[in-house]
Amino acid sequence: MAHGPRTPFDNKIVEWVDSRLPVFTMIQKEYGVFPTPKNFNYFWNFGALAMVMLIIMIMSGVVLAMHYTPNAAMAFSSVERITRDVNWGWFLRYLHMNGASMFFIAVYIHIYRGLYYGSYKQPRELLWIFGIIIFLLMMATAFMGYTLPWSQMSGWGATVITSLFSAIPVVGKTLVMWLWGGFSVDNPTLNRFFALHYLLPFIITAVVGLHVWALHVVGSNNPTGIDPKGPQDTLPFNPYYTIKDMFGLSVFLIVYAILVFYAPTLLTHQDHFVPFNPMVTPAHIVPEWYFLPFYAILRAITFDLNVYLLAAGALIGVLVYQYCWRKTPDARIAPHAPKLIAAAAIIGLPGFALAFLKDIEALKGIIDHIPLQGFHIMEAKLGGVLAMFGAILMLAVLPWLDRHPVRSGRYRPWFRIALGGFVVCAVILGYVGAQPAEQPWVAIGQLATLYYFAFFLVIVPWLSNNEPVAVLPNSIHEAVLAEKK
């Protein structure tokens, strides 16, 4: 890769290798002198931290796999044996199970950093998409890892999540049986999940390679979102950012160590310590905390999509397109906007009643008379699954939803407020995901889900056209000097 002129190394051995395969030249170029914006704040540590977590997870995982037995009858006991009898097995297990949480913490902060400072924008779209692919792969890996101890939570979690695929029309049921390797979550399921849990991290590593490669082509974003214009804006990666990452890492490891040594089961449900029994359903089946917001979105779709909601949704879609996605609405449509809104409200009302008010006794007499209610466009279950995957898809297409010329949230006060609301919603969704599916949590979850999607599909496109473009500093260097004053 690193062709072209090469500066010889003094060390004979290094030089011998480098003249045949210029790995040292590459390291020197990409991690030694690599010009890096000099104004990174500590948010910029989390990419490296995620990388460290990936390595810790693979290393601890490989050793755990040496002691683990992927058999439905023995898996739970083998995990307990690791904790009780294997030399330092408890350490490896706690490192691994809490490492998943720390990995997700690092990645969530990393994603938030990207959102706030507009790191997904041109020319980093592909870099961002690789990131989302890594996130998806991590979710799959974490989910399968969750099933391996073959506890009540493992088995039932696997049942709930794999059953989601049965919502897919026509092939759903067959697909689920294919995933299970049988008629229920059983030994074949555990075996394949173990194989995939071992495989996927290496695929993640490969995509991380692409992610880093793409990063090193376009260069890092920075808190101002302004491209570096010259040497006064950048620093060589080493020693400035190697040492900053080392400091960030040691603080991160303190948090990690507190979990591992003083609260190893803080983030683990107690049903994870009961062996899986396919005959006994636990009172609550909850995923790990890092899936809770998506779990809440999945469960927010409690209603079948009826014809009224679809029609009203189409009208609202037209309005959103005209007034949020376009700079100015089409002249032929604008005069009719009030009529369109009224039409959407009138058509939407029975749809809303069918979807949300069906359980209210007092309204039963009226709702029962709404025509066409037996006609479902899409069942709630499929709607939930689509919403959950759609929530991640929103992130992937964000570079094309946000066309505002300013990158960084630092100079976008309106966007900053909307993003703050998004974070609040994500936290609320996480909380709702841990609650039983009863009121008021269902309604709160539905409202938060509405904001989640509105943020991407309505607010961000509208801000693209309407948020004032601030006057940016001329360069990173200038911004840094202004800050110091």
């Binding site: 439905a72 009780r84 030399n87 303190i254 040594f261 009172a283």
Partner: protein, 368 residues
Amino acid sequence: MKHTLLLTLSVSALLAFAPAHAADTPATAGAAPASATVEGTQDAGSAADAPTAAKLPASSPEDNANTKTTEGNAEAKGGETKDTEAKDAEAKRAPAAEAPADASATSAAEATVEGGAEGDATNVAAAHVAEEAPAADAHHVPQAPKMDWSWNGPFGTFDRPSLQRGFQVYKQVCAACHSMNRVYFRNLAALGYNEDEIKSIAGEYQITDGPNDEGEMFERPGRPSDHFKSPFANDQAARSANGGALPPDLSLIVRARADGSNYVHGLLTGYGEPPAGFALNPGMHYNKYFAGHQIAMPTPLVEGSVTYDDGTTATVEQMSRDVTAFLTWASEPVMEKRKQTGLKVMLFLLVFSGLMYATKKRVWRNVN
């Protein structure tokens, strides 16, 4: 500079881990895999006796649950109800070790209800509670009081005499019905017993081993490498002796319940008369900290259930605290080592972070 840092890192890491590592050699490493197999077989057994109906693909787990609970009801044996009721009074007063049959029959039902919705209920009442458990669970269970346990906090350790007393309570009361398959006699070294004491404790039990060269199973005295002897030969025998219910293994009970130590202590001491107007189902007992307040296990601990070897007065509170300590230890025997290692790691990381911060400051001092 870089090399110095690396050196500091590796040396400190070695210092933090090396001594403890050297001391850590499992006494009978060879026994462990064998035991895993034994446990595995039992698990396989219980999986195999699952009704075929439940193996069919189900659209949702809730559907499954309902089916199973109904099956559980169908399996419930009416005859057992009276039996249990009649013997309750005796079981309350009689030391469990002397009346194993009674104790098993009754506390088995507790296992049923505690399990959330375990299929085989001893009577309809138990099944009823089991059905309600999901709704009543977690959110409506009164919290057991937070106790000031010796093992709380980052420096918490176990009190050896208390662990030994707790072991005695388990051995003489709980073990009549509850197995602890993940705890081995050799593990008792952590309670402060020496090798000879452990050998003699293990030797009190007759363990079925084999087959021998003639292909026969045979009985032999227990060894330190054996796990605690289960009160029943297998899950089926346990169910059969307990009216169809399976008393849960207690090896992990503290971890398998929310706020486990406080919960176990609360449950053991939470018995009492139901408040006026509380409809207690036949064969059930009122317990303050149990989901739905109806528990089938009669009061397991009564004043003087055990006579402590060390002369401590065996009040209910005392026995409950001791057995809670023992069960907490059993749920995670490595706890003390975990915290001790944690202290070294934390000290190292704090110093290391300080060094990194100072170095970072120095490297960055000329950047503007």
